[in-house]
């Protein structure tokens, strides 16, 4: 920043020597949050859960060819229940909670 002469003089007078670190950086390093591995672990858990669920379903229905019939049979009572509006409300609340838990950011930033 180019300053006029009297302002340069003011800047010189106000100039402060840099503060020595004196272990400050080490103190900051010591309190940094743990490495963010939760997101990658979450992906692994979701994949393993989906594979396990798929494997269990396959053992129940025998082969993939039986899948449409099995699905129809399994979901027939559910289709009746889905006609209830309160169930929809509950499902939406649950889906919202899961979505928030999975995708919400960490602590709110105070940064500008």
């Amino acid at each position: 920043m180019n300053l006029p002469p009297d302002e340069t003089r003011l800047a010189e007078l106000l100039r402060q020597p840099p503060l020595p670190d004196d272990g400050f950086s080490a103190r900051v390093a010591a309190v940094l949050p743990a490495p963010a591995t939760s997101r990658s672990f979450r992906g692994v858990f979701i994949t393993l859960g989906a594979l396990a669920g798929g494997a269990i379903a396959l053992t129940r229905i025998g082969s993939l060819g039986n899948l449409p019939g099995a699905v129809e049979q399994a979901f027939a009572p559910v289709a009746v229940e889905l006609a209830t509006p309160t169930l929809w409300l509950g499902l939406m609340a649950a889906a919202g909670s899961v979505a928030y838990a999975l995708f919400a950011a960490g602590p709110r930033s105070t940064a500008q």
């Binding site: 007078l13 106000l14 503060l19 670190d21 950086s25 105070t110």
Partner: protein, 178 residues
Amino acid sequence: VTPDAELVARVVGSDDRSAFGELVQRHQSAVRHFLRHLCRHDSALADDLAQDTFVQAYRSLGRFRREASLSTWLLGIAYNYWRNARRRMRPHSPLDERIPENAAERATFHSDLRHDLELALRELSADERLAIHLCYQQGKSHEEIAGLLDWPLGTVKTHLLRAKEKLRQPLAAWNPQT
């Protein structure tokens, strides 16, 4: 010297903590000076707030958009932490009004001119002192100060103008030819 932007990219991309350590070392002086100014030289409180500032910066670095320089962005976080601390502490300890009077601080006056200047600075309002600190001690532009403090640009200029008017007399006494 590795540019800030490269260090930021290393922290965001691969959680490189040594890169973040380098950023802390590089900017700790400016952030701590700023907070000491705001905390009226309560260096323990200022350093606690500075530590919180850098931890928050670490968490938010992915959202740093380079619209401002990294140092201005850090000072913005520091300013928010100070405002929160002031809100919490105001009933007990008015951070704005405490004037440094201890022997160690008086000993830092290297000359009578600096002493006079310090006395003149005490005559400024808190906002005028803050504007002077950011402009002359942190080297921030008027626009950066306005963005950092969320003040209109005209307010920054007015505070600086009034502050300089108030400081002119002690400066002129020590430098009659100007």
